[in-house]
């Protein structure tokens, strides 16, 4: 396990390095010049050069990238902002705030949104999937299967707006979505503010988990070892949970890991729909503003989350299935 973790974390670092370099390159292929944007309407060549210098974009590209890496690993000094401690992701071009602190600000919303909805969709998705598998071919199975088909074809920006309109504005059952209270300041407000987004986001995912759980279980329930367990005299319930479910878990955990990874990188559409301020909203802003340090920051967060959950998934898989050996 130790060797596996060391090897994979080193691998992850290399991947993130490559991703940052590619982002850097792509940014400079784009036609818009951030210095001109920052310089404003009255822009003399002198001020433009000054702005460029202040933003640190007057150096050749490799030098810029090198400075950025320096910042991440040892910290760096800025002409206009002074010293920035490692890990330094630089200052936003747009509002001259450290990128890291912006991300730290926004991250709680993203984590809350991702984990909260995951709890909902795992419980509902896996639960209905299990029922459908046990009642294979019966009415309950058919209802669950068609509901999941409808669910998976829904779009957040429609369901979200409709749900917000009726559930909070018209009927007042749920609070209007907001992320103004953190979990630690006011758990109650945090909970009621996010309840609606959780459920709406979960609707889309639940369908997937229902279908996957059902098909995995249908497969494992017909495995020879499940038959053997019955032949040993174990009860149907024991056989279901100890044998069939155990076999079905691996693929479900894998997909869950990937979903969590991508949700933590920011649920862009969901955040836009509900007016939440997470990493997703930050990414949109960074792109719109041509804000390179900000963009690099959110890209790294998104990629890091996916890479991290990949490692977690592999480790968990090995715990579930002793045949998988980590190396």
């Amino acid at each position: 396990m130790f060797r596996f973790l060391v090897r994979r974390i080193l691998g992850a670092a290399v991947i993130l390095l490559i991703i940052s370099a590619i982002t850097f390159l792509l940014f400079y292929v784009a036609p818009r010049d951030p210095a001109r944007v920052a310089c404003g309407k009255v822009c003399t060549p002198q001020t433009l050069a000054l702005v460029k210098h202040n933003l640190g974009i007057d150096d050749p590209l490799p030098v810029q990238y090198w400075h950025w890496l320096e910042g991440v690993f040892v910290g760096r000094d800025y002409a206009s902002f002074g010293h920035c401690n490692a890990p330094c992701l630089g200052y936003s071009f747009q509002n001259r705030v450290p990128v890291l602190s912006l991300i730290e600000d926004r991250f709680p919303t993203t984590i809350s949104l991702a984990l909260g909805s995951a709890v909902v969709f795992v419980i509902f998705g896996v639960g209905t999937g299990m029922i459908a598998a046990v009642k294979q071919g019966k009415a309950l199975d058919k209802i669950a299967s068609s509901a999941s088909l409808i669910g998976s074809s829904l779009q957040i920006y429609i369901v979200g707006i409709v749900a917000m309109y009726y559930l909070s504005d018209e009927w007042g059952i749920l609070d209007r979505p907001n992320d103004s209270s953190g979990f630690t300041d006011d758990p109650g407000a945090w909970f009621s503010g996010l309840l609606l987004p959780w459920f709406v986001l979960a609707i889309i995912f639940t369908a997937n988990y229902t279908r996957m759980t059902r098909s995995q279980l249908v497969e494992t329930l017909s495995e020879d070892y499940v038959r053997t367990a019955r032949a040993k005299g174990l009860s149907a319930r024991t056989v279901f949970f100890r044998f069939a479910w155990r076999g079905a878990m691996g693929p479900i955990v894998t997909i869950l890991g990937l979903d969590l990874g991508s949700l933590l990188g920011g649920a862009v559409i969901t955040e836009q729909t509900f007016g939440l301020h997470g990493i997703g909203a930050l990414s949109v802003k960074a792109v719109r503003d041509n804000d390179l340090p900000m963009l690099l920051g959110v890209v790294l967060v998104a990629a890091g989350a996916i890479v991290l959950f990949n490692i977690v998934v592999d480790a968990v898989y090995a715990l579930i299935d002793p045949r998988v050996r980590l190396a």
């Binding site: 060797r3 060391v6 090897r7 080193l10 190396a327």
Partner: protein, 347 residues
């Protein structure tokens, strides 16, 4: 044996699969010695049987001969041409002459292709246009393997297991091969069907003069089909001989144990001699030193652990009967039945 060049000449054939491991940089830390120094020949029109238990390397050998796999060492000569490491281009003409028949008639046919398409596939790939067109040839082939020639438009799932194996045979025959490597061609079939396919292969071998390397674990079927038989154990040939010699006068203890373990559908008044081998076949990653069979052999001595017995014509063998054993069995001194029920003693 004859002094003409054999159709296929294999010498020192070796295949080691590397095992990756190590930390922090992964590298090759060992090898699975699947096939380790095989020598044998196949004459034109002859059928050579390869028998042995799972893991003995017989299927790997089949894949090496057909060059579906690249050997690690040794030499494969086909009609005087060295094909050991031949590339795609050099192999192209030979590929049509060496064909393969697989075990699983369900998995080895593309379910989305019609039988006609499957059988004419090899002709299309090799751009061969037989007289009268490919479809005519497909009908001929279907006729040869005992299927209705009108069925060339059907799909594999419309056929039974035995019929699918016939389709596999027809595909192998499409390019008029000189050598067919058949890897367990009947073991997935029902008993009543096996004989149909064995008879078909026999007809093909005799009437079309095709040489066979017949890989199987069923010793009775191999005896029925192959004029010469090689017994493999842990990547090596331990004995090779004409079938009469091998089955009536086995000289290697393993051959003898293997034969005595075959259950026969006869009720004898007196029980047959049974030799019970204890334990399992050792791992090919770290095979025993010297003679690989020594860990399960009742005759093993110090010499067997230090010295690998060469595959030679031991005293009393007819020409062409080769045995790799320091203490070959003799028919005169029949050893008492050796029953070993305690695997711990052998482990």
């Amino acid at each position: 044996m004859s002094n003409t060049t054999p159709l296929l000449d294999v010498s020192g054939l070796t295949k080691h699969f590397p095992i990756k491991g190590g930390f922090p940089i992964r590298r090759t830390v060992g090898a699975v010695q699947a096939v380790d120094g095989l020598d044998f020949q196949v004459a034109e029109g002859e059928s050579l049987g390869l028998v042995g238990e799972s893991g003995c390397g017989k299927s790997t050998t089949g894949r090496l001969i057909t060059r579906l796999m690249e050997p690690t060492g040794g030499k494969i000569t086909y009609r005087g041409q060295d094909i050991t490491h031949a590339g795609r281009k050099e192999l192209a003409p030979i590929r049509s002459e060496i064909q393969m028949i697989f075990q699983d008639p369900y998995a080895s046919l593309n379910p989305r292709q019609t039988v006609g398409k499957i059988i004419s596939g090899p002709m299309e790939i090799n751009d061969i246009n037989p007289e009268g067109g490919r479809e005519k040839r497909v009908r001929e082939l279907l006729e040869i393997v005992g299927l209705n020639p009108e069925h060339f438009n059907r799909f594999p799932h419309e056929f039974s297991g035995g019929q699918r194996q016939r389709i596999g045979v027809a595909r192998a025959l499409a390019l008029q091969p000189k050598l067919i490597v058949a890897d367990e061609p009947v073991s997935a079939l029902d008993v009543s069907i096996q004989a149909q396919v064995v008879n078909l292969l026999q007809k093909v071998q005799r009437e079309l003069g095709i040489a066979f390397v017949f890989i199987a674990h069923d010793l009775a079927i191999v005896r029925h089909f192959s004029q010469r038989v090689a017994v493999m154990y842990l990547g090596k040939i331990v004995e090779i001989a004409d079938r009469e010699d091998l089955y009536e006068n086995p000289r290697h203890p393993y051959t003898r144990a293997l034969l005595s373990a075959v259950p026969e559908a006869t009720v004898d008044e007196e029980p047959r001699e049974r030799i019970r081998l204890a334990g399992d076949v050792p791992s090919p990653i770290n095979p025993p030193s010297g003679c690989r069979f020594r860990t399960r052999c009742w005759k093993a001595t110090e010499k067997c652990a230090t010295e690998a017995p060469p595959l030679v014509q031991v005293e009393g063998n007819k020409p062409g009967h080769l045995t790799a054993c320091h203490y070959p069995e003799t028919t005169e001194t029949v050893p008492a039945p050796r029953l070993s029920k305690d695997p711990e003693a052998a482990a």
